[in-house]
């Protein structure tokens, strides 16, 4: 096939919904980077002022602005990989004649150390042993544990429509569109106690109802598949092995709310997943499960995938919406919320992959069934991505309320090499650390929040007693500094100042150091404009709380 011209690419995308990101990707894939001419052509084609477009392109980590930038290997420097050989792999790539650059965690913490080059993700320890391969399936839970989203995922062929239907699926959608009103569907989701699995834990039924009742059409379902939180890789395994569950969940959300269009906003770092989702969508369209006249009714729902380009903040729902719309991806001011002013300022559901994939089994088995999966008063399940110093890293769907210690020791085999747990992170990195007696928490928000942390999206990194917690905190804070969007002062300046203070800068006396860091923590938590800046200081706050002696030792060493 001949290389497409600028005009070909622009014509391919300009009349599609949310065209900016796919068009930029198309140019980058054609040229190996985004040249000035390419950006000018895109600006003209989509009528975006060129200064704005340039600024927006620079926002994304994985848009290359130097020739051959796309091929340049990018190596994970997240906290887990730093313990597992980022340095060795980087040196080995350099020795092999490459020019590697660091990237934030691309969601492969169960298979360290990942490298992205071109459009491929490879993993391995040295330049010569890099391989690409499918996402590992979730390990089996202990006997007798009932799962919701992982219940069917290990079945062979599950990712194909045939394999999915073989086990009776899309039945939930059929049941809904042929036998239930949209209100009935919302009632079931509401009664089940399903809450958002992307971080904030907002009740899914309430969100759907708000969109159903909001004036303005067309309405939109957005699946948040940005999964940018370091230490989180659950949405990847769900999409890779069970894409139809997500599609069915989105169709259910659309039916329930009256939405006619949907987007899966997928993080850049999951190129294989993009292919799997595209294929599954084509299959579903072919089978009358998406598009016009779904299952012979007059229900219509169009779905497409949009790939991000490397920006953690684009997982924040309003930043995501700006990104989809081709705007500079700063978060929006809220209220108004997406349920009334979402994509193109119209009512929009934004839900996480896991939330949406939970909907079909809940509809099939009932609200009580889902409620009952949790322990004690807690409803349902939560997928935990477990990584770091742990024998069996991977994704575990636990009943909400399971003791953390049980997950670490009974489910995942405990800490290797005879070591003990020094600390774990919560919510990927966003919940900061739990350590000491607080490791006795159960995996539910009411247990974790009073300890100054939160479960969030469910990423847990384990650090054994040999790890330098000040260094881990610095690496983690570097992530937030790298990803701070720069919209608001407390986070833009605060993340930088915290990194400096964890990296030999700032006052040398313990009192003055703690005083400054505590002030930064407090102002960031209280006044930041979005969850990133509010969460980042939980790292330093918990470092001060659990490891004051390490801080002293670190400052004394510096002096």
């Amino acid at each position: 096939m001949a290389t497409p011209t600028d005009q070909d690419l622009i014509e391919r995308w300009q009349d599609e919904p949310a065209p900016l990101l796919p068009l930029l990707h198309a140019f980058q894939e054609r040229d190996g980077y985004l040249s000035e001419e390419a950006m000018r052509a895109v600006g003209r084609g989509l009528r975006i002022p060129i200064a704005d477009l340039f600024g927006t392109v620079t926002f994304y980590h994985h848009f290359a602005r130097e020739p051959a930038g796309l091929e340049r290997p990018r190596v994970c420097d997240g906290p887990v990989c730093q313990m597992r050989g980022t340095e060795v792999l980087t040196a080995s790539l350099r020795a092999a004649g490459h020019d590697p650059s660091p990237m934030p965690c691309p969601g492969r913490c169960d298979q360290p150390v990942p490298v992205i080059t071109g459009s491929e993700v490879l993993t391995g320890r040295t330049a010569g042993t890099l391989v690409s391969g499918p996402s590992p399936l979730p390990p089996f839970p202990p006997d007798g544990t009932e799962e919701c989203v992982f219940a069917g995922i290990r079945r062979p062929g599950r990712a194909t429509l045939e394999g999915y239907r073989h086990h009776g699926s899309y039945d939930a959608l059929e049941q809904a569109v042929t036998g239930m009103t949209p209100g009935d569907v919302i009632d079931v989701i509401d009664a089940s106690g399903l809450v958002g699995k992307g971080g904030a834990g907002f009740p899914a039924g309430r969100k759907w109802r708000a969109v159903a009742e909001a004036p303005g059409t067309p309405k939109t379902i957005v699946c948040n598949a940005d999964e940018g939180e370091p230490g989180c890789f659950k949405d990847r395994v769900l999409m890779d092995h069970d894409p139809h569950a997500l599609i069915e969940g989105m169709a259910l959300a659309a039916y329930a709310t009256g939405a006619v269009r949907g987007f899966i906003y997928l993080r850049y770092e999951y190129p294989d997943t993009a292919g799997i989702l595209e294929r599954a969508i084509r299959e579903a369209e072919g089978a009358g499960l998406l598009g016009d006249g779904i299952l012979g009714t007059d229900f219509r729902f169009d779905l497409c995938v949009r790939r991000g380009a490397g920006a953690y903040i684009c997982g924040e729902e309003t930043s995501l919406l700006n990104s989809l719309e081709g705007k500079h991806p700063f978060p929006r001011n809220r209220p108004p919320f997406p349920v009334t002013h979402g994509y193109e300022n119209l009512p929009t559901v934004v839900n996480n992959v896991e939330t949406l994939a939970s909907a079909p089994p809940i509809l099939l088995h009932g609200a009580d069934w889902y409620q009952g999966l949790g322990l004690g008063d807690h409803a349902g399940t939560k997928v935990i991505s477990l990584s770091g110093d742990i024998r069996r890293p991977g994704n575990y769907e636990v009943p909400v309320g399971l003791p953390l210690a049980k997950l670490l020791h009974d489910w995942a085999g405990g800490v290797p090499d005879g070591r003990t747990v020094q600390a774990v992170t919560m919510a990927g990195l966003s919940g900061g650390f739990l350590a000491g007696r607080d490791l006795e928490v159960t995996l539910d928000e009411p247990s974790i929040r009073p300890r100054g942390s939160f479960l969030g999206a469910g990423g847990i990194m384990v650090f054994d007693d040999s790890r330098d917690m000040v260094a881990v905190t610095r690496q983690s804070m570097e992530f937030f500094a790298h990803e701070s969007c720069g919209k608001c002062f407390p986070c833009r300046i605060g993340t930088q100042r915290l990194v400096e203070r964890l990296d030999g800068g700032g006052p040398g006396s313990v009192d003055a150091w703690v005083d400054e860091v505590a002030d930064l923590n407090e102002v960031m938590k209280k006044t930041s404009a979005c969850g990133l800046g509010q969460a980042a200081p939980l790292l330093t706050e918990s470092l001060i709380r659990y490891f004051p002696d390490r801080i002293r030792a670190y400052l004394e060493k510096g002096a």
């Binding site: 002022p49 340039f54 500079h328 209220p335 002062f489 407390p490 986070c491 930088q496 930064l520 102002v523």
Partner: protein, 371 residues
């Protein structure tokens, strides 16, 4: 973004009778007003750095945070719409501490905290807040942000981004007020940088040199180079409100003078025609007034293509009147067409049209500054 332009009061009267509690006092507001606007009306003196009343609220600096009963965290008053029954506190000890720390943080990222007021209209905003919050403590010291552009050798706009605090007022005024989209935000986080397309010079961008970005900049990172050239002219700066003479829009300006010298132009933020907007001429082209090449005495040219010779007012006026009369007598009153200079004051323009209409009896009168 989704916020309406600030404080669009409802036209249909649905906002009548709404009240909220502000620092313990019951106050009225109209639907659509932000908490900040209501508080301003009641002189709460909430500090701001990213705010410009002409622009959509942005919510970046977070200095305007206030406590709303029932909310977990303080909220930015500039982006929060007032709601009936809302209970708001604007100056608790906790808020004032947060604001002081924020100001200390802001101070830590700039090279200079104080700049000459000739930089621009808003250039003292940050320094004034640093004093108000006693924030010149030197805490939070660390890397400074922003890369200045001394290579941008345009004669109007200094781009000293080492004093930039990333409030993006310049970018927003350029887009929202001017519609020029000449500048934008590059990179993220601490590395954000105001830029033109591909980091080039302003003259190669869509910039029209209207100067609005300068005048809204709260730190003097952007500076009015024309005015700054006069910063050492002795004397107190006096400001005189007048109307720009360059075109028919009628933009209000405050002319800055020291002694009998014009040292700079400030847009009048309350100018009814321009709300602080000017164009390159009104903003920067004032230096002809005191230019040495300017005529300083009447001159007369005795014959076509002949040399000019210095003269007196009486002789020059008699000479001009005589020639005009000759033209009118020879060719009729419609053979004369008057064009008043845009650089002449309004009074002169008025006299000119009186002279042409009443004096010569024709409507052939115009002004070079049609717009």
């Amino acid at each position: 973004m989704t916020m309406k332009r600030n404080g669009t009061p409802s036209a249909n009267g649905t906002g009548v009778g709404l009240t909220m509690t502000l620092d313990g006092e019951k106050v009225a507001f109209t639907r659509g007003e932000t908490v900040y606007e209501v508080a301003e009306r009641h002189r709460s003196e909430i500090p701001t750095l990213c705010y410009d009343p002409r622009l959509e609220s942005f919510g970046g600096c977070r200095l305007c945070v206030v406590e709303v009963e029932g909310a977990r965290n303080p909220v930015a008053s500039c982006t929060t719409e007032a709601q009936p029954g809302m209970r708001v506190r604007t100056r608790t000890a906790a808020l004032e501490t947060q604001r002081r720390i924020l100001m200390e943080m802001v101070a830590s990222e700039n090279r200079d905290l104080d700049v000459d007021p000739m930089h621009g209209y808003a250039s003292q905003e940050m320094a004034e807040l640093l004093d108000r919050y006693d924030a010149r403590t030197g805490r939070f010291r660390g890397a400074t942000s922003g890369t200045s552009r001394p290579d941008d050798d345009n004669p109007f706009i200094g781009r000293d981004y080492e004093n930039c605090i990333s409030c993006y007022r310049c970018v927003r005024v350029c887009a929202e007020q001017e519609g020029d989209y000449a500048i934008s935000i590059m990179n993220r986080g601490f590395h954000t940088q105001i830029t033109t397309e591909f980091g080039g010079l302003l003259k190669d961008s869509a910039c029209t040199f209207c100067g609005q970005c300068i005048q809204t900049c709260p730190t003097g990172a952007l500076g009015d180079l024309k005015a700054l050239a006069n910063k050492d002219v002795p004397g107190e700066t006096e400001k005189t409100r007048t109307i720009c003479t360059y075109c028919g829009v009628g933009c209000s300006v405050d002319v800055m003078t020291r002694g009998d010298r014009i040292v700079g132009i400030l847009p009048a933020m309350d100018g009814p025609a321009n709300e602080g907007a000017l164009c390159v001429k009104g903003q920067f082209a004032f230096d002809f007034v005191g230019h040495p090449d300017r005529l300083d005495t009447p001159y007369v040219r005795d014959e076509k293509d002949g040399p000019l010779r210095p003269s007196t007012w009486d002789e020059a006026l008699d000479f001009a009147a005589g020639r005009l009369r000759k033209v009118v007598e020879g060719h009729g009153r419609r053979s004369v067409y008057g064009i008043a200079s845009g650089r002449a004051p309004h009074e002169a323009a008025y006299m000119m049209q009186r002279f042409i209409r009443a004096g010569l009896g024709t409507n052939h009168i115009d002004n070079c500054s049609r717009a």
